[in-house]
Amino acid sequence: MNPFDDNETISLEVIDATLAGEAVQPEYAELAELTLILAGQRPIPQEDFTTALDEQVARRFARPSSRTPRPVRWRWLFTPGAALGALAAVVAVIVVAGGIAGSDKSSSSAKLGPSASGSRAAASAPAVAQSSASASAPAQRQSPTAVAAPAPAPTATGRQIVQSAQLSLSTKPTNVDGVAQQVFDVIAAQNGVVRSSQVTAANNANGYAQFQLSVPSSNLGQTMAALSQLHGANVVSRTDSTRDITQQVGGVGMRLADARALHRALVRKLASATTTAEIDGLNGQIGAVEARIARLQTSLRSLHRQVNLSDISLTINAAMVPGHPVSSGGGFTLGKAAHDAGRVLVVAAGVALVALAVLVPLGIVIALALWIAHAVRQRRREQALDLV
């Protein structure tokens, strides 16, 4: 479809024909003459300027000879965009590395090596009210002396310390029952109590046993050592905790002494009471104080029980239970290599994703700014024409 009307089309054709040196119809002679006059008024540059410019253009636009080194392709590395990209990549690496370090840190609290647990074992200082120590070790390469060592016991010089421990063992699927029976035997030998137990025997990886145990605190170290050396079981992780309740025990004891003193005073007062109303009132007060004394005695007994008996939470997993993998040793295997490779790929993908998340909005903003700047500059240029 011709976008021009007839006049425009003819006019443009006449102009082009005239400029091309072709003849036109006589009725368009005026337009052709005007075209020729306009073309004839073409400003001609000075010859020396033309010569100098031609030489300069020929020199600058000349094709590089084969001996000329090719332009360096990596110069883009120094552009602002590349710098921003590099910055975003660094930020991404830091973010991802921070995330990995954070996750490793959170898991390390539950899986410290034996030496680390040893250094944490000094939890008995009076100022420290609560502490814990954890240990884990490869199940089959476990050094018996490392894990079977007594629990780090607080130096209880007059302090009231509550101790507890958690132990996770692994064993063969067919051996869950046998290990569970050994647990009963150990607890009996240490004068302890099995408060609850749950044993699920299965000849596959679903075999599982769980115990809630109580042993005299004086036997906790020996008990943990014995449990760590059960035949056919390996220690997966071990956690020892202590909690100083000296202040709590002292507080209950003081309140109990106060209540007893009050009780004695009320009894004496009752002995000298003369009226019925006075006797009834004192009897009521004495009853309330006795109830309070009973409650405080119960609390104190409970606290003493916590100090004297230590709780142990024990789990036994059949090997290959998800979440409790049994290490196959420290050697290099294809499986480990594949796992490491997968881990590297995940980290790389994370870095790429974070970098993308930074670069895409940044790129959009930069592109928008450049587009606006270009539009404004072009608009100002066009305005220069209106000033003429």
Binding site: S11, L38, P43, P45, F49, F61, R381, L385, D386
Partner: protein
């Protein structure tokens, strides 16, 4: 290119500077040239146009329409007084045109661009460029006829 810039700026000396500057810019930006977006000539004239507009912005003024008395007298000798008179009328009418229309004349008749190239330089469609040329020519014809 010089003819186009000279017509736009109405200043021969400035036109020489701007023409040289346009080639310098073209050399620096030669890697940005994309043949799919137009021919080299249109790209080069686009650079020249921007350089000329920058010069206009910088000066915020323009010299009087460039005239060349020697050429005019030579034209009288060669073609006779009627043609010389008509050339003078065209020159004066051209000088009175707004810069945008004078630019169209410069691109079409002095630089010799095709309509498609002209449209590319001005950033308009080819049909709009044709219409612009037609209207400018009508205006010129009218101005010439009135002065004669």
């Amino acid at each position: 290119m010089y003819a186009y810039v000279a017509t736009l700026l109405c200043d021969r000396a400035a036109a020489e500077d701007v023409t040289a500057l346009a080639f310098e810019r073209a050399f620096r930006r030669r890697r940005t040239f994309d043949r799919r977006r137009g021919e080299e000539r249109a790209w080069l004239f686009g650079i020249a146009r921007n350089a000329a507009l920058d010069e206009l912005r910088r000066r915020k003024r323009v010299a009087a329409l460039m005239t060349d008395p020697e050429d005019a007298s030579a034209a009288v000798d060669e073609a006779g007084p009627d043609v010389a008179l008509r050339r003078t009328a065209v020159r004066e009418a051209l000088a009175k045109l707004p810069a945008r229309e004078r630019e169209v004349i410069a691109l079409k008749f002095h630089a010799g661009l095709r309509n498609a190239e002209l449209a590319r330089v001005l950033g308009i469609s080819e049909s709009a460029a044709g219409t612009l040329i037609h209207r400018t020519m009508q205006k010129l014809r009218k101005a010439c006829n009135e002065s004669l």
